[in-house]
Every structure is written in C-alpha cells, then in structure tokens.
C-alpha cells in the first residue's frame, strides 16, 4: 500500500470517527458556575473575592486572595483552569469584551463576552495588570 493511500485512509477514518461521535450525541458541555470557580480556587488554597462568568457560561475569570487571578474555560464536558499572579497576565478590554493572555501555550488567550460592560473590578484589574 502506498504511503499516500494509507494517510488518506487514516484521514478518512478520523472524519468517520468524529462523525460517529457527533451522531451518537457526544456533544455534551460542562457546566461552569460559581461553585466550580470556588472549587478551583479552593484547590489552590485561595478564596474567590470577585468572579465574573462570560456570556454563554463558556469562560470565567475571578480575582482571588493573594493577588492572583483564576480563569476557567469549558473544554467540552470538562473544564480547564489557570491560576496566576495578576502581573503575569495581560488583560485587554474592548467594550463588553475582555481578553486575557498567558505565557502558557497550552492555554490559549481567553475571551469573555459580557452582556453589558465588564464588571468594574475587572477593569481595575486590567489597568493594574497593564502597569
């Protein structure tokens, strides 16, 4: 069998498997709420001071005790979180949209969309982090 034939076959199989998973309804999404945010903070031995969950509850950010921030994003039916000093993140605000960037390649920039303006504490955090 030629290499290209094997690779093309593998790619076709990948598409078939993904289609099968979708057809079988494996599209469930994790629930992201304040309890989950508190759980992530507690795992680090920290408390949540302020928290904001983005539109659609796909991502969230929280200010924790100890000058740290927590971000959480929905990963399918799981969640992924990062805790970092506020100074180690870059927070950008544009209207009702907030973008939080990390040095970690395994956790791409987090975008949060709010119905109205982002909470004031987040704007303060953005100004503080930018300094």
């Amino acid at each position: 069998m030629s290499t290209w034939f094997i690779l093309a076959g593998s790619a076709a199989v990948v598409v078939l498997m993904i289609a099968a998973a979708a057809a079988l309804g494996f599209r469930q999404r994790a629930r992201l709420d304040e309890a989950e945010i508190s759980r992530f903070a507690a795992a680090e031995g920290l408390n949540v001071e302020q928290a904001a969950i983005g539109e659609g509850a796909r991502s969230a950010v929280a200010r924790l005790s100890g000058g740290k921030i927590l971000v959480v994003r929905v990963m399918g039916d799981g969640l992924s979180a990062r805790v970092a000093p506020a100074s180690a993140t870059r927070i950008g605000l544009r209207g009702a949209r907030v973008r939080i960037e990390f040095a970690d390649v395994g956790f791409p920039p987090l975008n949060l969309q709010f119905n109205d303006a982002p909470p004031a504490w987040l704007a303060d955090l953005a100004q503080g982090a930018a300094r």
């Binding site: 690779l7 990948v14 998973a21 399918g76 990062r82 040095a103």
Partner: protein
C-alpha cells in the same frame, strides 16, 4: 562491522493491519458508552485525539527512518549474534517490554521526554480514542534510545521493532472504562484497570503502572498501584490543557521548556528545566508529582496506596 541477521519470514506492517480493528473497537465502545452510560466520550476531545494520531503517523513517516537507521547502526556493533529462534524471540518479548517500562517511567520522570509523552495524557477522557492521542516529537526527542541496548546485546533490529509494534497494538484496547477487572490476568498482564490508574491524576495514582504488556515490571520495581473502586478517577494532566488545537497540544510543553530556558540563570537551571522532573523549578515553587503526592500523603496518612 557485521550485518544484522535478517528475519527468516516477512514481518507484516503490524500497526497498519491493526487499524481496521481499532476502528471497529472504537465504534463498538462508542455505542456501548451511549447505551450503557459507562465511560465517557466527547466529540471535540475525540477529534483532538484522532488528529494527534494522524499527526503521529505523519511524524513516523518523516522521522521513523532515523529510528530504524539507529537500530541497524548499533546492530553492527552487537555483542552477540542472537538469531531468529523461538527462545530468542521469547527473550526479546520480555526484554522489549522491560525496555518499554523504563522508557515510559523516565518519560514521566524527566521533562525532556515528558514533553513528548504528555500529549498522550492530555485528554480529560479515557477511551479508545485516547490510545491514539500520540506524540509527534517522540523520535526527535530520542525516545528510541531506550531500546538501543537490546540491539547492542544482539537482538535483531527487526525483531525489536516487531515487538514494539505488538506492544503498541496491545496497549490500544486497555484504554477503556468499559472493561472492569479481569480476574487472575490482573496479576501478570497490563489491563484496563491498571492502565486507568496510570492515566489518573488523583494524587495517590500519580507516577504508577508504567507497564506496556506485562504489569510484572511495576510489581518488581515498586510502581504498582491497584485501582481503588471507592475513589472516582480523574484523567488528564495536573494542569489541564485549555485547548483542543492539535498543534498547541503537540508543542505546548516544548514551548514551556523554551520559555523556562530563556529565563534560566545558570547551568544548573538549564539542566533542571530540561531533565528535572516535570514541574521542577529552581526555587521549588512549582508542583511536581512528588510534591503533590507528599502533600496528599501528609493529609491522608492512612490512605497511602499499598499492594
């Protein structure tokens, strides 16, 4: 220099021939999970795992020749002429499995090799597609060096490669939550139960059950931990990935190493970031498996796992 002893029969492309079996078993497992509600699938996660598998295949085409060339090169300097006899093949099976154990253990204990192997652990799920979530950088991080001693002793290169392929195919089916414990097989073989422990991130399960085909190596070298049905397993890595992007999955730890090396202030720090345990930092501020296990053991003195 002596030419390697050629096999007396044509060795089939074991992995390629196993692929149809992989496909059928994944479909069966998906249907079983849907009907029995035992185990978990998620389409984005499976897509990432399968994409990593496809990328691994491409990486194999690009760099696999380097591995094979290394085996044949070392074979020229072999100590003994171990031919293609049944006793030698039996010995090679055990030797390959032992080499796999040590490769796998070091791939968890040293960041250079963990940077490749972390990919396989980066799913928060444990199903047959997780088995196919394989590294793209195994060959170029010299993972194959752990098998070179076998060739140096005198096992023919093709024989070692054959048992590596058999081991890889064996390890596919143990990535499932659909199969419970398997009775007496649990004593000798690596089973779904044993390998679930290996993929779990509960502190008591960290750095355990490195076996390929036979669990005996973990029992011999003190890394065996049995599955505790009273504690639900959590899968993935300590700092779960926040992406399904295959390229970020493939290279995130390498990028982390590069970032750390950029800030290293001494040769000790360079070596620590490269070959220290994953999570090593000069001031010890980051978490390693050892520190996580120690903290857990301090809080749960009566729950330290024992066989």
């Amino acid at each position: 220099m002596r030419e390697p002893i050629a096999p007396p029969f044509d060795i089939p492309d074991i992995i390629t021939y196993a692929v149809p079996g992989f496909v059928v078993l994944i479909l069966i497992e998906m249907i079983y999970v849907r009907l029995a509600r035992k185990g978990r699938y998620q389409v984005a996660d499976s897509a990432a795992s399968l994409s990593m598998g496809l990328g691994n295949q491409i990486a194999g085409l690009l760099f696999g020749g380097m591995v094979i060339a290394s085996y044949f090169f070392v074979s020229h300097f072999r100590l003994f002429d171990l031919g293609w006899t049944w006793p030698v093949m039996l010995a090679c099976f055990f030797a390959e499995d032992c080499a796999y154990y040590w490769f796998h253990r070091i791939a968890h204990e040293r960041r250079w090799w963990w940077a490749s192997h972390v990919i396989h652990h980066s799913s928060q799920h444990y199903n047959l597609t997780t088995a196919l979530r394989q590294t793209w950088t195994g060959a170029i991080s010299f993972s194959f060096i752990f098998w070179l001693p076998l060739v140096f002793v005198g096992f023919p290169p093709e024989m070692v490669l054959m048992f590596q392929a058999i081991s890889l195919v064996y390890q596919f089916w143990i990535h499932t939550e659909a199969i419970d414990r398997m009775g007496p097989l649990e004593w000798v073989m690596n089973t779904p139960s044993h390998h679930r422990v290996h993929h779990a991130i509960n502190p008591k399960y960290l750095d355990a059950n490195y076996a390929g085909v036979l669990i005996i190596w973990d029992r011999m070298f003190g890394t065996f931990v049995p599955e505790d049905k009273s504690e639900p397993l959590r899968y993935g890595i300590i700092t779960q990935l926040g992406t399904f992007n295959p390229f970020r999955v493939a290279f995130h730890e390498w990028a982390g190493i590069a970032r750390d090396l950029g800030g290293a202030k001494s040769l000790r720090e360079v070596l620590g970031y490269l070959f220290g345990p994953p999570g090593w930092s000069p001031d010890g501020s980051r978490k390693t498996s050892a520190s996580i296990k120690a903290a857990w053991a301090a809080q749960n003195p009566s729950a330290v796992p024992a066989e």
